[in-house]
Protein backbone atom coordinates (compact mmCIF):
# COMPACT_ATOMS: atom_id res chain seq x y z
CA UNK A 1 0.00 0.00 0.00
CA UNK A 2 3.02 2.25 -0.22
CA UNK A 3 3.81 4.76 -2.90
CA UNK A 4 7.37 5.42 -4.05
CA UNK A 5 8.27 9.06 -4.26
CA UNK A 6 11.53 10.52 -5.55
CA UNK A 7 13.18 13.51 -3.91
CA UNK A 8 15.64 15.80 -5.65
CA UNK A 9 18.06 18.29 -4.11
CA UNK A 10 17.78 21.63 -5.87
CA UNK A 11 19.91 24.67 -5.28
CA UNK A 12 18.02 27.89 -4.98
CA UNK A 13 19.01 29.36 -8.32
CA UNK A 14 17.15 30.09 -11.48
CA UNK A 15 16.39 27.36 -13.98
CA UNK A 16 16.95 24.30 -11.78
CA UNK A 17 13.28 23.36 -11.51
CA UNK A 18 12.85 23.91 -15.23
CA UNK A 19 15.84 21.66 -15.85
CA UNK A 20 14.29 18.81 -13.83
CA UNK A 21 10.97 19.01 -15.63
CA UNK A 22 12.67 19.36 -19.02
CA UNK A 23 14.84 16.23 -18.71
CA UNK A 24 11.92 14.19 -17.35
CA UNK A 25 9.71 15.43 -20.19
CA UNK A 26 12.30 14.44 -22.77
CA UNK A 27 12.34 10.88 -21.44
CA UNK A 28 8.55 10.74 -21.47
CA UNK A 29 8.22 10.65 -17.69
CA UNK A 30 4.88 12.00 -16.52
CA UNK A 31 4.68 13.83 -13.20
CA UNK A 32 1.62 12.80 -11.15
CA UNK A 33 2.06 14.85 -8.02
CA UNK A 34 4.68 17.22 -6.71
CA UNK A 35 5.61 19.34 -3.78
CA UNK A 36 8.52 21.69 -3.23
CA UNK A 37 9.93 22.37 0.20
CA UNK A 38 12.31 25.27 0.24
CA UNK A 39 14.76 27.17 2.40
CA UNK A 40 16.69 30.31 1.51
CA UNK A 41 19.53 28.26 -0.04
CA UNK A 42 18.04 25.08 -1.36
CA UNK A 43 14.87 23.17 -1.96
CA UNK A 44 13.76 19.58 -2.00
CA UNK A 45 11.52 18.66 -4.88
CA UNK A 46 9.33 15.64 -4.21
CA UNK A 47 7.74 13.91 -7.14
CA UNK A 48 5.48 10.99 -7.79
CA UNK A 49 5.84 9.92 -11.40
CA UNK A 50 4.59 7.17 -13.67
CA UNK A 51 8.05 5.60 -14.04
CA UNK A 52 10.08 6.02 -10.86
CA UNK A 53 13.17 4.06 -11.94
CA UNK A 54 13.49 5.84 -15.28
CA UNK A 55 13.03 9.22 -13.61
CA UNK A 56 15.66 8.48 -10.97
CA UNK A 57 18.20 7.19 -13.49
CA UNK A 58 17.60 10.14 -15.82
CA UNK A 59 18.04 12.73 -13.09
CA UNK A 60 21.15 11.02 -11.73
CA UNK A 61 22.67 11.06 -15.18
CA UNK A 62 22.06 14.79 -15.31
CA UNK A 63 23.99 15.21 -12.08
CA UNK A 64 21.14 15.61 -9.61
CA UNK A 65 21.14 14.03 -6.17
CA UNK A 66 18.05 11.83 -6.02
CA UNK A 67 16.62 9.55 -3.38
CA UNK A 68 13.60 7.27 -3.17
CA UNK A 69 11.17 7.44 -0.25
CA UNK A 70 8.09 5.43 0.67
CA UNK A 71 5.05 7.57 1.26
CA UNK A 72 1.36 6.85 1.84
CA UNK A 73 -1.53 8.15 -0.30
CA UNK A 74 -4.78 8.59 1.60
CA UNK A 75 -8.07 9.50 0.00
CA UNK A 76 -9.76 12.37 1.81
CA UNK A 77 -13.51 12.09 2.43
CA UNK A 78 -15.18 14.70 0.23
CA UNK A 79 -16.86 16.75 2.97
CA UNK A 80 -15.96 19.59 5.34
CA UNK A 81 -13.73 18.24 8.10
CA UNK A 82 -12.52 15.39 5.87
CA UNK A 83 -8.84 16.19 6.35
CA UNK A 84 -9.35 16.86 10.05
CA UNK A 85 -10.77 13.37 10.51
CA UNK A 86 -7.58 11.81 9.13
CA UNK A 87 -5.26 14.01 11.16
CA UNK A 88 -7.33 13.31 14.24
CA UNK A 89 -6.80 9.57 13.86
CA UNK A 90 -3.06 10.08 13.47
CA UNK A 91 -2.89 12.43 16.40
CA UNK A 92 -4.76 10.08 18.73
CA UNK A 93 -2.45 7.24 17.75
CA UNK A 94 0.62 9.49 18.22
CA UNK A 95 1.75 9.00 14.62
CA UNK A 96 4.17 11.71 13.62
CA UNK A 97 3.78 13.29 10.16
CA UNK A 98 7.11 14.38 8.68
CA UNK A 99 5.41 16.28 5.87
CA UNK A 100 2.36 16.08 3.65
CA UNK A 101 0.97 17.50 0.45
CA UNK A 102 -2.27 17.22 -1.45
CA UNK A 103 -3.46 16.81 -5.00
CA UNK A 104 -6.75 16.00 -6.67
CA UNK A 105 -7.38 12.61 -8.20
CA UNK A 106 -8.57 13.03 -11.76
CA UNK A 107 -11.02 10.12 -12.11
CA UNK A 108 -12.99 10.39 -8.89
CA UNK A 109 -12.41 14.08 -8.24
CA UNK A 110 -11.37 13.28 -4.67
CA UNK A 111 -8.51 14.94 -2.88
CA UNK A 112 -5.56 12.72 -2.10
CA UNK A 113 -3.06 13.48 0.65
CA UNK A 114 0.48 12.18 0.40
CA UNK A 115 1.93 11.55 3.84
CA UNK A 116 5.50 10.90 4.84
CA UNK A 117 5.64 9.03 8.16
CA UNK A 118 8.54 7.83 10.24
CA UNK A 119 6.90 4.48 10.62
CA UNK A 120 5.02 3.79 7.41
CA UNK A 121 3.67 0.32 8.25
CA UNK A 122 2.19 1.36 11.59
CA UNK A 123 0.56 4.40 10.04
CA UNK A 124 -1.03 2.32 7.26
CA UNK A 125 -2.36 -0.21 9.74
CA UNK A 126 -3.87 2.48 11.98
CA UNK A 127 -5.51 4.35 9.10
CA UNK A 128 -6.97 1.15 7.65
CA UNK A 129 -8.33 0.09 11.03
CA UNK A 130 -10.22 3.37 11.12
CA UNK A 131 -11.66 2.72 7.68
CA UNK A 132 -9.61 5.21 5.67
CA UNK A 133 -9.01 4.51 1.99
CA UNK A 134 -5.33 4.04 1.19
CA UNK A 135 -4.55 4.18 -2.49
CA UNK A 136 -2.01 1.67 -3.84
CA UNK A 137 1.04 2.92 -5.74
CA UNK A 138 -0.30 1.71 -9.11
CA UNK A 139 -3.38 3.87 -8.69
CA UNK A 140 -1.26 6.97 -8.13
CA UNK A 141 1.37 6.31 -10.84
CA UNK A 142 -1.33 5.62 -13.37
CA UNK A 143 -3.91 8.26 -12.40
Amino acid sequence: MKVTQISIFIENKSGRLAEVSRVLGEKGVNIRALSLADTSDFGILRLIVDNTDLAKATLKECGFTVSKTEVVAVEVPDRPGGLASILDILDKASVNVEYMYAFVERSAGNAVIIFRFDNVDDAIRILQEKGMTILPGERIYGI
Binding site: S7, F9, R46, T65, V66
Partner: protein, 433 residues
Amino acid sequence: MIWNDDFETLPREAIESLQLRRLQQTLERVYATVPFYRKRFEKAGVKPNQVKSLADLRRLPFTLKQDMRDNYPYGLFAVPLDQIVRIHASSGTTGNPTVVGYTRRDLDNWTEMMARSFAAAGAHRGDVIHNAYGYGLFTGGLGAHYGAEKIGASVIPMSGGNTKKQLMIMQDFGSTVLTCTPSYCLYLAEVAAEEGIDIHSLKLEIGILGAEPWSEKMRDEIQEKVGIKAIDIYGLSEILGPGVGIECIEAQAGLHIWEDHFIPEIIDPETEAVLPLGEQGELVITTITKEGIPMIRYRTRDITRIIAEPCVCGRTHRRLERMSGRSDDMLIIRGVNVFPSQIESVLMNIDGVEPHYLLIVDREENLDTLEVQVEVNERTFSDEIKVLQQMSRTIQEAIKEMLGISCRVRLVEPKTITRSEGKARRVIDNRPK
Protein backbone atom coordinates in the same frame (compact mmCIF):
# COMPACT_ATOMS: atom_id res chain seq x y z
CA MET B 1 63.01 -0.89 -0.26
CA ILE B 2 65.87 1.53 0.45
CA TRP B 3 67.36 2.80 -2.81
CA ASN B 4 70.66 4.16 -1.49
CA ASP B 5 71.53 2.34 1.71
CA ASP B 6 74.84 4.19 2.18
CA PHE B 7 73.24 7.61 2.40
CA GLU B 8 69.69 6.93 3.53
CA THR B 9 70.74 5.15 6.73
CA LEU B 10 73.72 7.33 7.74
CA PRO B 11 74.03 7.80 11.50
CA ARG B 12 72.94 11.21 12.80
CA GLU B 13 76.48 12.48 13.46
CA ALA B 14 77.58 11.53 9.95
CA ILE B 15 74.57 13.32 8.42
CA GLU B 16 75.33 16.44 10.42
CA SER B 17 79.02 16.56 9.64
CA LEU B 18 78.21 16.03 5.95
CA GLN B 19 75.62 18.81 6.16
CA LEU B 20 78.07 21.24 7.74
CA ARG B 21 80.78 20.53 5.17
CA ARG B 22 78.35 20.91 2.27
CA LEU B 23 76.76 24.01 3.80
CA GLN B 24 80.13 25.71 4.14
CA GLN B 25 81.02 24.88 0.54
CA THR B 26 77.65 26.19 -0.67
CA LEU B 27 78.02 29.44 1.28
CA GLU B 28 81.52 30.08 -0.08
CA ARG B 29 80.26 29.44 -3.58
CA VAL B 30 77.19 31.69 -3.47
CA TYR B 31 79.18 34.44 -1.76
CA ALA B 32 81.66 34.36 -4.60
CA THR B 33 79.26 33.95 -7.53
CA VAL B 34 75.84 35.44 -6.68
CA PRO B 35 75.89 39.21 -6.02
CA PHE B 36 72.47 38.97 -4.37
CA TYR B 37 73.77 36.66 -1.64
CA ARG B 38 77.02 38.62 -1.16
CA LYS B 39 75.02 41.82 -0.57
CA ARG B 40 72.57 40.08 1.76
CA PHE B 41 75.34 38.46 3.81
CA GLU B 42 77.22 41.75 4.06
CA LYS B 43 74.09 43.53 5.18
CA ALA B 44 73.58 40.88 7.88
CA GLY B 45 77.24 41.24 8.85
CA VAL B 46 78.15 37.60 8.34
CA LYS B 47 80.85 35.97 6.23
CA PRO B 48 80.68 32.35 5.06
CA ASN B 49 83.79 31.41 7.11
CA GLN B 50 81.96 32.53 10.27
CA VAL B 51 79.52 29.64 9.90
CA LYS B 52 81.29 27.05 12.01
CA SER B 53 78.36 24.88 13.08
CA LEU B 54 74.89 24.04 11.83
CA ALA B 55 73.51 26.30 14.56
CA ASP B 56 75.28 29.24 12.91
CA LEU B 57 72.93 28.85 9.95
CA ARG B 58 70.36 30.99 11.74
CA ARG B 59 72.67 34.00 11.48
CA LEU B 60 72.09 34.07 7.72
CA PRO B 61 69.27 36.04 6.11
CA PHE B 62 66.20 34.36 4.59
CA THR B 63 65.52 34.10 0.88
CA LEU B 64 61.95 34.79 -0.27
CA LYS B 65 59.98 33.98 -3.39
CA GLN B 66 59.94 37.72 -4.02
CA ASP B 67 63.76 37.69 -4.19
CA MET B 68 63.51 35.21 -7.06
CA ARG B 69 61.02 37.46 -8.84
CA ASP B 70 63.18 40.52 -8.28
CA ASN B 71 66.10 38.68 -9.84
CA TYR B 72 64.08 37.35 -12.76
CA PRO B 73 65.08 35.41 -14.75
CA TYR B 74 68.68 34.30 -14.06
CA GLY B 75 69.86 36.67 -11.31
CA LEU B 76 70.18 33.99 -8.62
CA PHE B 77 72.00 31.43 -10.80
CA ALA B 78 75.38 30.54 -9.36
CA VAL B 79 76.87 29.18 -12.59
CA PRO B 80 77.15 30.59 -16.11
CA LEU B 81 74.29 29.65 -18.42
CA ASP B 82 76.52 27.31 -20.43
CA GLN B 83 76.53 24.95 -17.44
CA ILE B 84 72.73 24.97 -17.10
CA VAL B 85 71.14 22.05 -18.91
CA ARG B 86 67.50 22.47 -17.85
CA ILE B 87 65.27 25.42 -16.96
CA HIS B 88 61.91 25.20 -15.17
CA ALA B 89 59.61 27.95 -13.96
CA SER B 90 56.56 28.38 -11.79
CA SER B 91 53.33 29.66 -13.28
CA GLY B 92 53.75 33.18 -11.93
CA THR B 93 50.06 34.02 -11.67
CA THR B 94 50.76 36.85 -9.26
CA GLY B 95 53.96 38.31 -10.71
CA ASN B 96 57.07 37.26 -12.61
CA PRO B 97 57.44 33.50 -12.75
CA THR B 98 60.18 32.07 -10.56
CA VAL B 99 62.87 30.53 -12.72
CA VAL B 100 65.17 27.69 -11.71
CA GLY B 101 68.16 26.23 -13.56
CA TYR B 102 69.78 22.82 -13.16
CA THR B 103 73.33 21.74 -13.98
CA ARG B 104 73.96 18.20 -15.18
CA ARG B 105 74.87 17.24 -11.62
CA ASP B 106 71.73 18.88 -10.24
CA LEU B 107 69.65 16.71 -12.57
CA ASP B 108 71.58 13.61 -11.47
CA ASN B 109 70.93 14.48 -7.83
CA TRP B 110 67.26 15.18 -8.51
CA THR B 111 66.90 11.87 -10.32
CA GLU B 112 68.61 10.11 -7.41
CA MET B 113 66.25 11.75 -4.90
CA MET B 114 63.19 10.87 -6.98
CA ALA B 115 64.48 7.29 -7.28
CA ARG B 116 64.85 7.13 -3.48
CA SER B 117 61.34 8.58 -3.20
CA PHE B 118 59.77 6.02 -5.55
CA ALA B 119 61.56 3.20 -3.74
CA ALA B 120 60.40 4.56 -0.36
CA ALA B 121 56.82 4.64 -1.68
CA GLY B 122 57.09 0.96 -2.59
CA ALA B 123 57.58 1.30 -6.35
CA HIS B 124 60.17 -0.79 -8.17
CA ARG B 125 61.36 -2.21 -11.45
CA GLY B 126 58.41 -3.92 -13.13
CA ASP B 127 55.92 -1.27 -12.05
CA VAL B 128 54.04 0.70 -14.69
CA ILE B 129 54.20 4.28 -13.45
CA HIS B 130 51.38 6.45 -14.75
CA ASN B 131 52.76 9.96 -14.43
CA ALA B 132 49.88 12.44 -14.46
CA TYR B 133 51.91 15.38 -13.17
CA GLY B 134 52.07 18.12 -15.78
CA TYR B 135 55.04 18.01 -18.17
CA GLY B 136 56.47 21.34 -19.17
CA LEU B 137 57.74 24.32 -17.23
CA PHE B 138 56.22 22.78 -14.08
CA THR B 139 58.78 20.51 -12.38
CA GLY B 140 56.31 17.75 -11.49
CA GLY B 141 56.16 15.82 -14.74
CA LEU B 142 59.82 15.62 -15.71
CA GLY B 143 61.00 15.33 -12.10
CA ALA B 144 58.92 12.23 -11.48
CA HIS B 145 59.69 10.91 -14.96
CA TYR B 146 63.46 10.61 -14.59
CA GLY B 147 63.22 9.11 -11.12
CA ALA B 148 60.77 6.50 -12.37
CA GLU B 149 63.11 5.57 -15.24
CA LYS B 150 66.03 5.42 -12.82
CA ILE B 151 64.44 2.68 -10.71
CA GLY B 152 63.74 0.73 -13.89
CA ALA B 153 59.97 1.10 -13.91
CA SER B 154 58.02 1.58 -17.16
CA VAL B 155 56.93 5.20 -17.27
CA ILE B 156 53.83 6.45 -19.05
CA PRO B 157 54.37 10.20 -19.58
CA MET B 158 50.66 11.07 -19.39
CA SER B 159 50.89 14.63 -18.08
CA GLY B 160 47.68 16.22 -16.74
CA GLY B 161 44.20 16.55 -18.17
CA ASN B 162 42.08 14.44 -20.54
CA THR B 163 40.71 12.36 -17.69
CA LYS B 164 38.77 9.82 -19.73
CA LYS B 165 41.87 9.00 -21.74
CA GLN B 166 43.87 8.68 -18.52
CA LEU B 167 41.39 6.04 -17.35
CA MET B 168 41.51 4.20 -20.66
CA ILE B 169 45.32 4.09 -20.56
CA MET B 170 45.25 2.91 -16.95
CA GLN B 171 42.95 0.07 -17.91
CA ASP B 172 44.72 -0.91 -21.11
CA PHE B 173 48.35 -0.41 -20.04
CA GLY B 174 47.92 -1.88 -16.58
CA SER B 175 49.25 1.11 -14.63
CA THR B 176 50.32 0.07 -11.12
CA VAL B 177 51.57 3.38 -9.72
CA LEU B 178 49.83 6.73 -10.17
CA THR B 179 51.54 10.08 -9.65
CA CYS B 180 49.31 13.17 -9.52
CA THR B 181 47.78 15.65 -7.08
CA PRO B 182 45.50 14.15 -4.41
CA SER B 183 42.51 16.14 -5.63
CA TYR B 184 43.04 14.88 -9.18
CA CYS B 185 43.25 11.32 -7.86
CA LEU B 186 39.78 11.69 -6.33
CA TYR B 187 38.55 13.31 -9.51
CA LEU B 188 39.77 10.30 -11.51
CA ALA B 189 37.77 8.05 -9.18
CA GLU B 190 34.68 10.18 -9.74
CA VAL B 191 35.02 10.16 -13.51
CA ALA B 192 35.65 6.41 -13.43
CA ALA B 193 32.38 5.93 -11.56
CA GLU B 194 30.55 8.09 -14.09
CA GLU B 195 32.03 6.11 -16.96
CA GLY B 196 31.03 2.84 -15.33
CA ILE B 197 34.65 1.80 -14.77
CA ASP B 198 35.27 -0.14 -11.55
CA ILE B 199 38.44 1.60 -10.40
CA HIS B 200 39.11 -1.24 -7.95
CA SER B 201 39.43 -3.62 -10.88
CA LEU B 202 42.43 -1.67 -12.20
CA LYS B 203 45.94 -2.81 -11.35
CA LEU B 204 46.73 0.40 -9.45
CA GLU B 205 48.43 -0.28 -6.13
CA ILE B 206 50.15 2.94 -5.13
CA GLY B 207 49.40 6.62 -5.54
CA ILE B 208 52.28 9.07 -5.05
CA LEU B 209 50.39 12.26 -4.43
CA GLY B 210 51.56 15.77 -3.78
CA ALA B 211 51.88 19.38 -4.97
CA GLU B 212 49.06 20.53 -2.68
CA PRO B 213 48.28 20.15 1.02
CA TRP B 214 45.89 17.32 1.91
CA SER B 215 44.61 15.75 5.08
CA GLU B 216 44.78 12.34 6.71
CA LYS B 217 41.03 11.97 6.17
CA MET B 218 41.46 12.64 2.48
CA ARG B 219 44.08 9.90 2.44
CA ASP B 220 41.58 7.48 3.99
CA GLU B 221 39.03 8.42 1.40
CA ILE B 222 41.46 8.00 -1.52
CA GLN B 223 42.70 4.66 -0.19
CA GLU B 224 39.15 3.41 0.14
CA LYS B 225 37.69 4.84 -3.07
CA VAL B 226 40.62 4.09 -5.35
CA GLY B 227 41.88 1.00 -3.54
CA ILE B 228 45.52 2.12 -3.39
CA LYS B 229 48.15 2.98 -0.83
CA ALA B 230 48.28 6.78 -0.94
CA ILE B 231 51.76 8.18 -0.30
CA ASP B 232 52.43 11.85 0.37
CA ILE B 233 55.31 13.42 -1.58
CA TYR B 234 56.70 16.89 -1.04
CA GLY B 235 58.61 19.22 -3.26
CA LEU B 236 58.82 22.72 -4.60
CA SER B 237 60.52 24.00 -7.70
CA GLU B 238 62.51 26.68 -5.85
CA ILE B 239 64.28 23.94 -3.92
CA LEU B 240 64.28 21.07 -6.40
CA GLY B 241 60.86 20.01 -7.67
CA PRO B 242 59.16 16.83 -6.48
CA GLY B 243 61.25 14.53 -4.31
CA VAL B 244 62.41 16.87 -1.55
CA GLY B 245 60.67 14.55 0.88
CA ILE B 246 58.44 11.47 0.83
CA GLU B 247 56.60 9.16 3.16
CA CYS B 248 57.83 5.60 3.37
CA ILE B 249 55.24 2.93 2.69
CA GLU B 250 56.17 1.20 5.96
CA ALA B 251 55.04 4.05 8.22
CA GLN B 252 53.00 6.45 6.05
CA ALA B 253 53.62 8.92 8.85
CA GLY B 254 55.74 11.93 8.02
CA LEU B 255 57.90 12.64 4.98
CA HIS B 256 61.61 11.82 5.07
CA ILE B 257 63.51 14.85 3.84
CA TRP B 258 66.80 14.00 2.13
CA GLU B 259 69.14 15.54 4.65
CA ASP B 260 72.31 14.90 2.67
CA HIS B 261 70.96 17.49 0.20
CA PHE B 262 68.88 19.83 2.35
CA ILE B 263 68.86 21.38 5.81
CA PRO B 264 65.34 21.97 7.14
CA GLU B 265 64.53 24.51 9.85
CA ILE B 266 61.19 25.45 11.38
CA ILE B 267 60.53 29.10 12.15
CA ASP B 268 57.72 31.17 13.55
CA PRO B 269 56.35 32.88 10.42
CA GLU B 270 55.61 36.07 12.35
CA THR B 271 58.73 36.57 14.48
CA GLU B 272 61.05 34.61 12.11
CA ALA B 273 62.65 32.97 15.15
CA VAL B 274 63.87 29.37 14.79
CA LEU B 275 61.58 27.13 16.83
CA PRO B 276 62.71 24.26 19.07
CA LEU B 277 62.90 20.83 17.43
CA GLY B 278 59.43 19.28 17.11
CA GLU B 279 57.41 22.49 17.17
CA GLN B 280 55.10 23.44 14.35
CA GLY B 281 55.85 26.42 12.15
CA GLU B 282 57.01 27.44 8.68
CA LEU B 283 59.50 25.21 6.92
CA VAL B 284 62.73 26.87 5.79
CA ILE B 285 65.09 24.90 3.54
CA THR B 286 68.73 25.42 2.65
CA THR B 287 70.06 23.43 -0.30
CA ILE B 288 73.59 22.09 0.21
CA THR B 289 74.31 20.32 -3.06
CA LYS B 290 72.54 22.47 -5.65
CA GLU B 291 74.87 24.09 -8.20
CA GLY B 292 72.55 25.91 -10.60
CA ILE B 293 70.51 27.89 -8.12
CA PRO B 294 71.44 27.22 -4.50
CA MET B 295 68.89 28.46 -1.97
CA ILE B 296 69.93 29.75 1.40
CA ARG B 297 67.23 29.63 4.08
CA TYR B 298 64.37 29.66 1.59
CA ARG B 299 61.02 30.34 3.23
CA THR B 300 58.72 27.68 1.79
CA ARG B 301 55.55 29.07 3.44
CA ASP B 302 54.58 25.45 4.19
CA ILE B 303 53.48 24.73 7.75
CA THR B 304 54.85 21.55 9.32
CA ARG B 305 57.08 20.26 12.11
CA ILE B 306 60.19 18.09 12.19
CA ILE B 307 59.82 14.56 13.55
CA ALA B 308 63.18 13.50 15.01
CA GLU B 309 62.06 10.09 16.33
CA PRO B 310 63.51 7.10 14.45
CA CYS B 311 61.32 5.60 11.73
CA VAL B 312 60.38 1.93 11.41
CA CYS B 313 61.67 1.86 7.82
CA GLY B 314 65.29 2.24 8.93
CA ARG B 315 65.95 5.54 7.16
CA THR B 316 67.76 7.97 9.44
CA HIS B 317 66.73 11.13 7.60
CA ARG B 318 64.30 13.12 9.69
CA ARG B 319 60.67 13.40 8.77
CA LEU B 320 58.42 16.39 8.17
CA GLU B 321 54.89 16.05 9.42
CA ARG B 322 52.26 16.17 6.64
CA MET B 323 52.02 19.81 5.54
CA SER B 324 49.03 21.29 7.31
CA GLY B 325 48.72 24.38 5.16
CA ARG B 326 50.66 27.29 3.80
CA SER B 327 51.41 30.42 5.74
CA ASP B 328 50.41 32.43 2.66
CA ASP B 329 47.19 30.40 2.10
CA MET B 330 46.33 31.49 5.55
CA LEU B 331 43.21 33.60 5.64
CA ILE B 332 42.71 36.10 8.37
CA ILE B 333 38.99 36.17 9.06
CA ARG B 334 37.84 38.52 11.79
CA GLY B 335 41.37 38.41 13.14
CA VAL B 336 41.49 34.61 13.29
CA ASN B 337 44.08 32.65 11.31
CA VAL B 338 42.28 30.10 9.15
CA PHE B 339 43.90 27.48 6.94
CA PRO B 340 41.63 25.90 4.32
CA SER B 341 43.05 22.53 5.38
CA GLN B 342 41.55 23.00 8.85
CA ILE B 343 38.11 23.37 7.35
CA GLU B 344 38.77 20.36 5.16
CA SER B 345 39.56 18.23 8.19
CA VAL B 346 36.37 19.40 9.90
CA LEU B 347 34.33 18.39 6.85
CA MET B 348 36.01 15.03 6.51
CA ASN B 349 35.14 14.21 10.09
CA ILE B 350 31.45 14.49 9.34
CA ASP B 351 30.06 11.24 8.06
CA GLY B 352 29.32 11.20 4.35
CA VAL B 353 30.53 14.72 3.60
CA GLU B 354 32.74 15.02 0.51
CA PRO B 355 36.10 16.80 0.55
CA HIS B 356 34.91 19.09 -2.25
CA TYR B 357 34.41 22.46 -0.69
CA LEU B 358 34.79 26.11 -1.48
CA LEU B 359 35.38 28.93 0.94
CA ILE B 360 33.98 32.31 0.04
CA VAL B 361 35.27 35.16 2.12
CA ASP B 362 33.61 38.54 1.86
CA ARG B 363 33.06 41.67 3.87
CA GLU B 364 29.67 43.02 4.86
CA GLU B 365 29.49 46.28 6.77
CA ASN B 366 33.17 46.05 7.73
CA LEU B 367 32.75 42.54 9.07
CA ASP B 368 34.41 39.55 7.43
CA THR B 369 32.06 36.79 6.42
CA LEU B 370 32.86 33.19 5.63
CA GLU B 371 30.65 30.98 3.53
CA VAL B 372 31.50 27.31 3.27
CA GLN B 373 29.99 25.59 0.26
CA VAL B 374 29.61 21.85 0.62
CA GLU B 375 28.24 19.45 -1.95
CA VAL B 376 25.25 17.30 -1.10
CA ASN B 377 25.66 13.71 -2.22
CA GLU B 378 23.57 10.57 -2.05
CA ARG B 379 24.88 9.70 1.36
CA THR B 380 24.09 13.06 2.94
CA PHE B 381 20.87 13.84 1.07
CA SER B 382 17.58 13.41 2.82
CA ASP B 383 14.08 14.26 1.62
CA GLU B 384 13.50 16.02 4.90
CA ILE B 385 14.54 19.66 5.17
CA LYS B 386 15.30 19.34 8.86
CA VAL B 387 17.90 16.63 8.26
CA LEU B 388 19.78 18.80 5.75
CA GLN B 389 19.52 21.83 7.99
CA GLN B 390 20.84 19.73 10.84
CA MET B 391 23.85 18.79 8.69
CA SER B 392 24.52 22.48 7.96
CA ARG B 393 24.34 23.21 11.65
CA THR B 394 26.67 20.34 12.52
CA ILE B 395 29.25 21.66 10.08
CA GLN B 396 28.78 25.20 11.35
CA GLU B 397 29.22 24.15 14.94
CA ALA B 398 32.26 21.98 14.20
CA ILE B 399 33.95 24.91 12.42
CA LYS B 400 33.03 27.25 15.23
CA GLU B 401 34.47 24.81 17.73
CA MET B 402 37.74 24.37 15.83
CA LEU B 403 38.34 27.94 14.65
CA GLY B 404 36.18 30.04 16.91
CA ILE B 405 34.48 31.79 14.02
CA SER B 406 30.92 31.59 12.79
CA CYS B 407 30.32 30.78 9.18
CA ARG B 408 27.43 30.22 6.86
CA VAL B 409 27.17 26.76 5.36
CA ARG B 410 25.63 26.55 1.94
CA LEU B 411 24.67 23.17 0.59
CA VAL B 412 25.15 22.96 -3.16
CA GLU B 413 24.31 20.42 -5.84
CA PRO B 414 26.85 17.67 -6.50
CA LYS B 415 29.74 18.41 -8.85
CA THR B 416 29.02 22.13 -8.93
CA ILE B 417 32.29 22.95 -7.19
CA THR B 418 34.90 23.06 -9.93
CA ARG B 419 37.20 20.04 -10.03
CA SER B 420 40.67 21.07 -10.93
CA GLU B 421 42.97 18.91 -12.96
CA GLY B 422 45.95 20.38 -11.16
CA LYS B 423 45.92 22.14 -7.82
CA ALA B 424 42.48 22.56 -6.32
CA ARG B 425 41.11 26.06 -5.85
CA ARG B 426 39.55 26.22 -2.40
CA VAL B 427 39.17 29.90 -1.64
CA ILE B 428 37.50 32.88 -3.23
CA ASP B 429 38.32 36.04 -1.34
CA ASN B 430 36.01 38.86 -2.39
CA ARG B 431 37.11 41.29 0.28
CA PRO B 432 38.28 44.65 -1.02
CA LYS B 433 42.09 44.72 -1.00
